[in-house]
Amino acid sequence: MTQCKARRWRSIAMWLGLTVQPPRRFSSRVCIVLIGVGLSVLGCTYPCPRPGFVGIPEALERSPDFALPLGAEDHQRLLGFLVHGGRRPSRGWSPQDEDPGRLQRIQDTYGPLLVALTQQAPTPEDLRAGTGSLVRLFDDPRWLLAVHDARVETDPAGAFYDLDPERARGLVKGDFVFAFYTRRLMPLVVTAAQVPGLGQGEHTIWALGNEQAGSYTGLVVFRKTFALPIRAE
C-alpha cells in the first residue's frame, strides 16, 4: 500500500516536472550497442574464416611456371612479375629501369624468399605448416592452401593431381600466392594427330614433368584475390 502510494506520488511529481524518471540500469539500446561492440572486438581478435584452397588463374594473370631452385634468369623474371604487380614484365625488362624506390619496396618484402628459392627446391619439411623453414618467410606459416589447377586432371594412376597438399600447396606472401608443385608443369604444343579429340591446328596442353621424390620442383605465382584476407593473424 505504501509502495503503491509512493509510485503514484512519484508519477504525479514527474508529470508536474518536479522530478525526472531515473534511468534504467541497462536500457535495451545500451545492451544492443554493447553486444555490437563485443562482436566487433571478437571479429577483430579471432581469425576470420579463411579459404582452404586457391584456384590457379588464367595465363594473363599468373607467372610462368618456374623450375625450382630458381636460376638467375628465372629469379629476374619472377622479380619482374612481382614488381609489375602480378603481370609478366615486357620483353627486355631490366631491374635497372625500375624506379629504385619501388624496386627496394619489393626487395624488402620478397627478397629473402626469392633468395631462399634460388638455393634449393623446398622439401615437404621446408613447407610443413607452422614449423617449416620456408613457410616462416610467408605471412602466416600455419596457413597452407590446397591448390586447384584446372590445367592438370589426373596422374597416371588416375588420382587428381591438384588439391592434394602433398603434391601442390599454396602460401600467401604480401599481395601474392606462391603455389608449389612436386612436379613442374610444362606446356606442350600438340596437334589433333597427336591427341585425338582436339580440333585442327596447334593446341597447348599441360604435362607434368618428372616427379622428384622429396622436393617441390615447380612454382607458379599469382595475385591474391579479394577473397583472401590481406594478412592473416
Binding site: L60, S90, G92, D97, D99, G101, R102
Partner: protein, 378 residues
C-alpha cells in the same frame, strides 16, 4: 655496333616496308648529340609508338575521324601498317647482336575510352576487350605476351586512364624511367600532365563533352616542318635542316633536323611556341630532379631523377623535337621529344598524309619518322 650502325640497321627494316605498305619514310626531326648522355656506348635502341586512339568499329563509325578513318568516307588501313611495322621491328630485334637490346614503349592513349560507347552492364575488362576484339592486330602485337608481340611497356594516357582496371591492360603506368648509359636520364610519359587544360578540367567532364559534342569535330592537320631561316648568332628558334624523304639507310643525314631551341632566358610565350607542353614540362623536370613529392606522385614514381635529360611524350599529336639548352648549367638541359600520333594528319609543304609517326632513340641520336601509308591502304 655503335648507335649509328644500330640506327642504320633499324632504318633498313623501316625502308623494307616500302615494298609492301609504306609509300615513303620521312625523317621528321633528328637531334644527334652524344654529349647529352655523356658519350655512352649504345646498348639499347628504343622505339616509341604514340597515340593510337583505338575504338570499336561501332564507336568509330560515330565520329568523323579515328584510327581507321581520315575523314567521313575516306579510310586508311593503319592496322595493316601497324602490323607490318611490328613485324619489321621483331625481325630487327631477332637480328640484334646479344650485347644489344630493343625496348618498345606505347606512349598512352592506346585506346580511346572517352569516345567508346559504354554500356551499363559492361565492366572495364569487357569494354577494353570489345575494342581489342575489333583491333586484333594491335592486341596481337602490343598487348599479348608471346613471340609475335613486341610486348611493349604501355603508358596510361588521359583517354585511357581507366583501362588500369581492366585485366588486359592493368600493367599500364603513368610513367616509365629508363637508364641510358647507367644513368636514369630518360622519362617517358603520355604528356597530359603537362597540359594545363587537361589538368584543370575533370576527366569525366571532358569525356561527357566529347561524347555529346565530339561527333562532328573534324580531324586536325599538323604542320610538322617548322624550319625557318635563322639569322646569324640567334640562339633560339628553329634549328637544323628541313624534314626529308629517306631513300637509303646509308645516306648521310644532318645531325640536326627540324628542331626548336629555347634557353633559360626564353619567356613563357617562346617556350610555348617551341611546344605548348614545354613550360609545364620544364617545371616537372626541375621538380623531378629535386625530388619534389608532388611531381613524383603525379608520375607514380618514388625516387628523384637528378640526371633527367630527355622526356618522351605523345598526347599533342604533333611530332616535334625541342631542345631546352642551358649552357651555364648543362645538367638542366632537357630534350622534349613528342612522337606524334597514329590519328589525324600531318602536313609537309603541300603534302598531307595520314599521321603514322614513331620515335627512335639510340645513344644520343633521337629521330622522329613519318611512315606515309601506301596508296593501296587508302
Amino acid at each position: 655496333m655503335d648507335s649509328q650502325q644500330l640506327h642504320r640497321s633499324f632504318l633498313r627494316h623501316l625502308l623494307s616496308l616500302r615494298d609492301d605498305c609504306v609509300q615513303q619514310v620521312r625523317l621528321v626531326s633528328r637531334l644527334c648529340d652524344d654529349a647529352l648522355f655523356g658519350d655512352v656506348p649504345a646498348e639499347r635502341l628504343f622505339v616509341f609508338l604514340p597515340d593510337l586512339h583505338l575504338l570499336s568499329r561501332a564507336a568509330e563509325a560515330q565520329y568523323r575521324y579515328g584510327f581507321h578513318t581520315i575523314e567521313p568516307g575516306r579510310c586508311v588501313q593503319r592496322q595493316v601498317l601497324l602490323d607490318r611495322l611490328c613485324e619489321a621491328i621483331l625481325t630487327f630485334r631477332q637480328q640484334l647482336p646479344a650485347e644489344h637490346s630493343l625496348k618498345t614503349v606505347q606512349l598512352g592513349d592506346f585506346l580511346d575510352l572517352w569516345r567508346e560507347n559504354e554500356f551499363a552492364q559492361e565492366d572495364l575488362t569487357a569494354l577494353v576487350a570489345r575494342i581489342l576484339d575489333d583491333n586484333p592486330e594491335a592486341r596481337g602485337r602490343l598487348v599479348r605476351t608471346d613471340a609475335a608481340s613486341l610486348e611493349p611497356d604501355v603508358l596510361l594516357g588521359n583517354h585511357d586512364l581507366k583501362m588500369l582496371d581492366s585485366s588486359e591492360l592493368s600493367h599500364a603506368r603513368r610513367a616509365f624511367t629508363y637508364t641510358v648509359g647507367g644513368r636514369r636520364a630518360l622519362l617517358v610519359t603520355h604528356g597530359d600532365l603537362f597540359d594545363g587544360l587537361e589538368t584543370f578540367l575533370d576527366d569525366d567532364l571532358q569525356e561527357w563533352f566529347l561524347e555529346r559534342f565530339g561527333h562532328d569535330v573534324p580531324a586536325q592537320r599538323y604542320k610538322l616542318d617548322r624550319t625557318t631561316a635563322q639569322s646569324e648568332g640567334e640562339m633560339t628558334g628553329s634549328e637544323g635542316s628541313a624534314p626529308t624523304v629517306l631513300a637509303h639507310e646509308e645516306e648521310d643525314l644532318p645531325a640536326v633536323v627540324n628542331i626548336w631551341v629555347t634557353t633559360p632566358s626564353s619567356d613563357g610565350g617562346t617556350l610555348a611556341n617551341s611546344h605548348r607542353l614545354l613550360p609545364t614540362a620544364l617545371e616537372y623536370a626541375a621538380g623531378l630532379r629535386a625530388g619534389s613529392s608532388s611531381h613524383l606522385d603525379a608520375m607514380g614514381l618514388d625516387s628523384p631523377l637528378p640526371e633527367l635529360r630527355l622526356m618522351v611524350v605523345g598526347h599533342s599529336h604533333q611530332a616535334r623535337l625541342c631542345l631546352h639548352r642551358d649552357a651555364l648549367e648543362p645538367s638542366n638541359t632537357l630534350v622534349f621529344m613528342d612522337c606524334g600520333a597514329w590519328i589525324e594528319s600531318a602536313q609537309f609543304g603541300d603534302a598531307v598524309v595520314p599521321s603514322c609517326q614513331i620515335g627512335v632513340l639510340c645513344g644520343g641520336d633521337m629521330r622522329l619518322y613519318q611512315l606515309d601509308p601506301h596508296t593501296g591502304l587508302l
